[in-house]
C-alpha cells in the first residue's frame, strides 16, 4: 500500500519535472554564499596552520594541530568545492573509501622504517 503511494508520488513528480528536465539536469546549482563562506574558512584555517609554524609550536600539539587543520581543509574542499557533499553515496563511497585503505599502507611503512632504522643503528654502528 505504502509502496503504491510512493510510486504514484514518484511518477507524479517525474511528470511535473519532465518539462524542466533539460540537458543540464545533472549540474550542481548552489548559492554563491556557501562558496564564499568556505573560501573564507579555508583562508582562516591556512592562516592557523601557518601560525603553528610561526609560533614554533612543537611536539604532539604541533602535529595534532597540523593534521586537524589539514583534514578540515581537505573536507571543505572535497565536500563543497568539489560538490561531493551533494553527490549520491554510490559515488562518494566509491571515491572516498579507497584512500582510507592508505592508512594501512602508512602503518606498514611505519613498521618498515622502524626496522630499517634499527638495522642501520645496530649493524652500521652509526649513532643519530
Amino acid at each position: 500500500m505504502a509502496q503504491a503511494t510512493t510510486q504514484a508520488t514518484v511518477s507524479q513528480a517525474a511528470a511535473e519535472a519532465a518539462p524542466a528536465t533539460g540537458a543540464h539536469a545533472e549540474g550542481q546549482h548552489h548559492p554563491i554564499k556557501i562558496y564564499l563562506l568556505v573560501w573564507f574558512w579555508l583562508f582562516v584555517l591556512s592562516a592557523c596552520s601557518y601560525l603553528v609554524d610561526y609560533f614554533g609550536l612543537q611536539g604532539y600539539l604541533r602535529w595534532s594541530l597540523i593534521l586537524l587543520f589539514m583534514v578540515v581543509k581537505a573536507g571543505l574542499i572535497v565536500g563543497v568545492f568539489m560538490h561531493m557533499a551533494w553527490e549520491r553515496l554510490a559515488l562518494a563511497y566509491a571515491i572516498l573509501v579507497p584512500p582510507v585503505v592508505l592508512l594501512v599502507f602508512v602503518g606498514i611503512m611505519v613498521v618498515e622504517s622502524h626496522y630499517t632504522l634499527f638495522t642501520r643503528l645496530f649493524f652500521s654502528g652509526v649513532t643519530p
Binding site: 508520488t9 514518484v10 511518477s11 513528480a13 517525474a14 511528470a15 519535472a17 519532465a18 528536465t21 540537458a23 543540464h24 539536469a25 545533472e26 549540474g27 550542481q28 546549482h29 548552489h30 562558496y35 564564499l36 573560501w39 579555508l42 583562508f43 591556512s46 596552520s49 601557518y50 603553528v52 609554524d53 610561526y54 597540523i66 593534521l67 589539514m70 581543509k73 574542499i77 572535497v78 563543497v80 568545492f81 568539489m82 560538490h83 553527490e87 549520491r88 553515496l89 554510490a90 559515488l91 563511497y93 566509491a94 571515491i95 579507497p98 584512500p99 592508505l102 602508512v106 611503512m109 611505519v110 622504517s113 622502524h114 630499517t116 632504522l117 642501520r120 652509526v126 649513532t127 643519530p128
Partner: protein, 246 residues
C-alpha cells in the same frame, strides 16, 4: 550523433529528484545493482574525472609515503623546513613566508574556480571565462614562485643526492613531490586557458562540436575542469602540512 537514450531515464527515476531514489546504504546497493550505469545524476565525464583523481591520489600518496619512510628511517637529522624555506624580508627572518604566500594563492585560485563553476551553470559566459582566466593567472604565479623557490634552493646547494643541512633524502623527496605537484598545476593552467577560450567563444551556448571528439560541449566541462583544479589545491593542502610544516 546525439546520445539521448543513455542519459534519459524512464519516468519515475527522474534525475532532477534524486531524493526519490533510495538513500543511504540501501541507495548504494540499489545504484550499484542497477541497470545502465552506477553513478546516477553524474555524467560519464564527471565520473571519469573522479576516477582519474582517485588514481592520482594514490600516486601522490606513494610519494608522501616514501617521504615519510625515508624521513623516519634516516640516521642523520632531517633539515628543518621552517628554516630552509624561510625568507629574510627587510632584515627580518620570516619562517616559511614564500610557502605561506603560495598556499594563499592556491586557495584564492580555488575560490575563483568555484565561482567560475557557479557562473557556468548560470550560463554567464563572460563572468565564467574571466574567473577561469583569474584562476589560471593565480596558478601561473604559483608555478612562478615555485620556480623561484627551486632556484633559491639549488643555488644553496640542494641536490636530489645531498644538501648542506642534513639527511640526503631531503632533496630527492622535495624535488619529486613539489615537482610533480607543479607539473599538475601547469597542466591545470593549460587546461583552464583552453576551456576559458571555449567558454568565451560561446561554444557551450551554441553547442559547437569539439575539434577532437566532435561532441557537443556543455557547461559541465567547467565543473570537471574545476574538479581537477580543486584536486591540485587539495594535494597542496597535504604537501603543505606533511612536508613543509611537519
Amino acid at each position: 550523433m546525439a546520445e539521448p537514450t543513455l542519459t534519459q531515464e524512464p519516468p519515475g527515476l527522474s534525475p532532477v529528484y534524486p531524493s526519490l531514489r533510495p538513500s543511504g546504504l540501501r541507495g548504494i546497493v540499489a545504484d550499484w545493482a542497477s541497470d545502465q550505469r552506477t553513478f546516477k545524476n553524474v555524467s560519464w565525464m564527471k565520473a571519469m574525472m573522479w576516477i582519474f583523481l582517485l588514481s592520482d591520489t594514490f600516486i601522490f600518496s606513494c610519494f608522501l609515503l616514501s617521504y615519510m619512510t625515508v624521513r623516519m628511517s634516516t640516521v642523520t637529522p632531517w633539515p628543518n623546513p621552517s628554516e630552509v624555506f624561510g625568507l629574510t624580508v627587510a632584515g627580518h627572518e620570516t619562517p616559511l613566508l614564500l610557502i605561506a604566500i603560495m598556499t594563499f594563492i592556491l586557495i584564492s585560485s580555488s575560490g575563483t574556480m568555484a565561482m567560475a563553476v557557479n557562473f557556468g551553470y548560470r550560463r554567464d559566459r563572460v563572468k565564467t571565462a574571466v574567473l577561469m582566466l583569474a584562476t589560471a593567472a593565480f596558478g601561473a604565479s604559483f608555478v612562478g614562485m615555485q620556480a623561484f623557490e627551486w632556484t633559491k634552493l639549488i643555488m644553496e646547494g640542494v641536490r636530489p643526492w645531498g644538501n648542506p643541512w642534513g639527511a640526503e633524502q631531503f632533496g630527492s623527496a622535495f624535488f619529486m613531490i613539489t615537482g610533480f605537484h607543479g607539473t599538475h598545476v601547469t597542466i591545470g593552467v593549460i587546461f583552464l586557458l583552453i576551456m576559458a577560450r571555449k567558454v568565451l567563444r560561446g561554444d557551450f551556448d551554441k553547442e559547437r562540436r569539439g575539434f577532437f571528439t566532435s561532441r557537443k560541449g556543455n557547461y559541465e566541462i567547467v565543473e570537471v575542469t574545476g574538479l581537477y583544479w580543486h584536486f591540485v589545491d587539495l594535494v597542496w593542502v597535504f604537501i603543505f602540512a606533511l612536508f613543509y610544516l611537519w
